[in-house]
């Protein structure tokens, strides 16, 4: 009862006082937001304010954006990519088109490129015969099958709360087998429920679990990264305090897992920064929702915590740039100084007054996370103050050492290659 009264007083009194003092600060007013996630209904209908609701008056109208309904026709896209800027010696071309909402990519052992999708419910297979590429929709009707991986002849697909295995996948492109559910101890919410898969060499896979809202006290089983054994389904939590992560990779130098993380919204156009993180010990906490970008306590959810309690990011990538898929470069096509560099696909912002991101970032960093430097590697997908012709969302290295980049806006895959 006492708690309720205090809450009521806060809800009525504080917003008025703070609204006058801090008009730009959306998170300082009112009650701490928490959610009762103990009932299944919560997971079916997460709070309506998960991406809207915390914005200030100045931010109103920056609404969720939708890409084009149909993939960009090849001729248009070939014209569009003339806008892409790359370092000298690099070139970009269209690798494949007609792939609605293309997301994570994974190579089959025999050269099939598997591609997940966002809302399109599909998984695609891109095959190459003498440079002639064919796109085939091999799976339909899955809920946000954004993440794909390939191991020992099997295709793994994650569709929100089910990790599915399709055996003998490359020989079954015309008719995929019924899947085996490998792991399903996951909540079914869609908000930040789409996932990314990073398989390691030992039969394990890293899976991120975003919170079903912008910011709040995360319900149990979210805001974490798990490592799941794909044979046994045994899982362990390897990282906590993680907001929405939709990308990661294993450092070929150390075997450590690195991951990108999208920071909270509605603080401002320039804070907090999105992050590149590095897990060095089991179960470490990266700060969400208490601390952002390593040094900004949340205006509401710091709750007495100091940023020094949490693992800071290796690199702050910039606010609203939306870093998604990433890869360490292990090829030999690019100049030697690119070896072991990280390439990050930045999807770009949707609720910043002037978009940023929508590019490929290059991070040069030691295996221990020291001496990090970052620079823009490829840019030009943003075509106006708030316009895209495409949005990069994942990166994979091709066998010849070139990079493939998927784009869920244009429904396409690009190839970036280097020649002296």
């Amino acid at each position: 009862m006492k708690k309720k009264t205090l809450r009521a007083a806060l809800a009525v009194g504080l917003p008025m006082m703070l609204a006058a003092a801090l008009p730009m600060n959306p998170a300082s007013a009112g009650d701490l937001k928490s959610y009762d996630s103990s009932k299944p209904s919560f997971w079916a209908h997460p709070p309506a304010d998960w991406f809207l609701g915390d914005e200030t008056e100045a931010q109103k109208g920056l609404s969720p954006i939708a890409g084009p309904a149909t993939p960009t026709p090849l001729a248009d896209l070939q014209n569009d990519i003339k806008k892409i800027k790359l370092p000298p010696g690099f070139k970009i071309e269209v690798y494949a088109t007609g792939i609605p909402e293309a997301r994570q990519m994974a190579w089959g052992a025999n050269g099939t490129l598997f591609v997940g999708s966002f809302g399109a419910t599909n998984v695609y297979a891109v095959t190459d015969q003498g440079g002639q590429r064919t796109v085939k929709t091999i799976l339909k009707g899955l809920t946000m099958p954004t993440g794909v991986a390939f191991r020992d002849g099997s295709l793994y697909v994650i569709a929100i709360n089910k990790l599915l295995r399709y055996d003998n996948a490359e020989a079954s492109l015309d008719k995929m087998p019924d899947p085996v559910v490998v792991y399903d101890d996951m909540p079914p919410y869609v908000a930040h429920g789409w996932k990314y898969l990073v398989a390691d060499k030992n039969g394990g896979v890293y899976i991120p679990f975003g919170p079903p809202f912008n910011i709040g006290i995360p319900p149990t089983s979210t805001s974490q990264i798990r490592h799941v054994d794909m044979k046994t389904g045994l899982a362990e939590i390897v990282a906590l305090g993680v907001r929405n992560s939709v990308g990661g990779d294993i450092d070929p130098r150390s075997g450590d897992y690195w991951f990108t993380e999208n920071a909270r919204d509605w603080m401002s156009d320039d804070t907090p920064s999105d992050k590149l993180n590095h897990i060095t010990k089991l179960g470490e906490d990266f700060g969400y929702p208490h601390c952002h970008q390593g040094n900004i306590p949340d205006p509401k959810f710091a709750m007495g915590h100091k940023c020094s309690e949490f693992t800071p990011p290796v690199v702050n990538l910039g606010a609203h740039v939306a870093p998604l898929g990433m890869k360490f470069y292990t090829g030999s096509q690019f100049p030697a100084q690119y070896k072991d560099n990280i390439f990050i696909a930045e999807h770009g912002s949707w609720n910043r007054h002037t978009y940023q991101g929508g590019r490929i970032e290059r991070v040069i960093v030691d295996a221990n996370g020291k001496n990090a430097k970052q620079e823009v590697f490829a840019s030009g997908w943003i075509t106006g103050q708030r316009d895209y012709f495409g949005r990069p969302d994942d990166i994979i290295q091709a066998p010849d050492g070139s990079l493939l980049v998927s784009d869920d806006w244009a429904g396409a895959i690009y190839r970036i290659s280097y020649a002296k």
Partner: protein, 202 residues
């Protein structure tokens, strides 16, 4: 003078086009393809059939997304499914361009606004942030539908379908989330408010 002004106008007009989405539909081709649509959706894209939405002046990208949803079965509809099954991506872009080009209907199908329902509906719309995506005039933007003066019966059904998840949403499930919190009372209120807005500036 006139030439300069025309040039300036041309520049203003061409700017948004060059910055906008890549593929533009062909309006005459869309008009040809739209012939089978008009029996239900109205000769001018203004529906007079209960439950069937008007499409005149609808947002190009919203039309296209709905056709994509019908074609791949994500929006299940036994009447629409066979009609769109063989549409190509190009057909879909042309249909979007055609319906978007038709003059917007501002004749209120629902008749005279009910002051009580309108007032409540206005509150609901404000509380749920409808204008965030549909804009202050409720004429929409990009893939967010124009809903001002749409048929009230259709709006009620659409909100129920979004709420139940029967209908998919663009914009990272924006409508699923927005409608998820609407009560049974609020749906007819907000539908009535939006359906009876009438001409802008009225």
């Amino acid at each position: 003078m006139l030439t300069l002004r025309m040039l300036a106008l041309a520049a203003i007009v061409s700017l948004p086009a060059s910055a906008s989405l890549a593929a533009q539909g062909n309006i005459p081709a869309g008009q040809e393809k739209a012939k089978p649509c008009l029996g239900c959706h109205g000769q001018n894209g203004v529906s007079s059939i209960p439950g069937i939405p008007s499409l005149a002046g609808q947002r190009d990208q919203f039309i296209q997304w709905q056709l994509v949803f019908f074609r791949n079965g994500r929006r299940a509809n036994p009447i629409m499914a066979p009609l769109v099954a063989n549409l190509s991506d190009e057909d879909i872009r042309n249909l979007g361009a055609y319906f978007a080009s038709l003059p917007y209907n501002t004749v209120v199908a629902a008749g005279t606004p009910d002051p009580d329902l309108t007032a409540k509906g206005k509150e609901v719309a404000a509380h749920h942030g409808c204008a965030n995506c549909h804009k202050e005039d409720f004429r929409g933007q990009q893939a967010a539908a124009a809903i001002a003066d749409q048929r009230e019966d259709y709006l009620v059904q659409a909100l129920k379908d979004y709420r139940s998840g029967a209908r998919p949403s663009t914009g990272v499930a924006a409508m699923t989330e927005a409608a998820g919190g609407l009560t049974d009372d609020e749906i007819p209120q907000v539908a009535h408010y939006v359906a009876t807005l009438g001409p802008p500036g009225k």
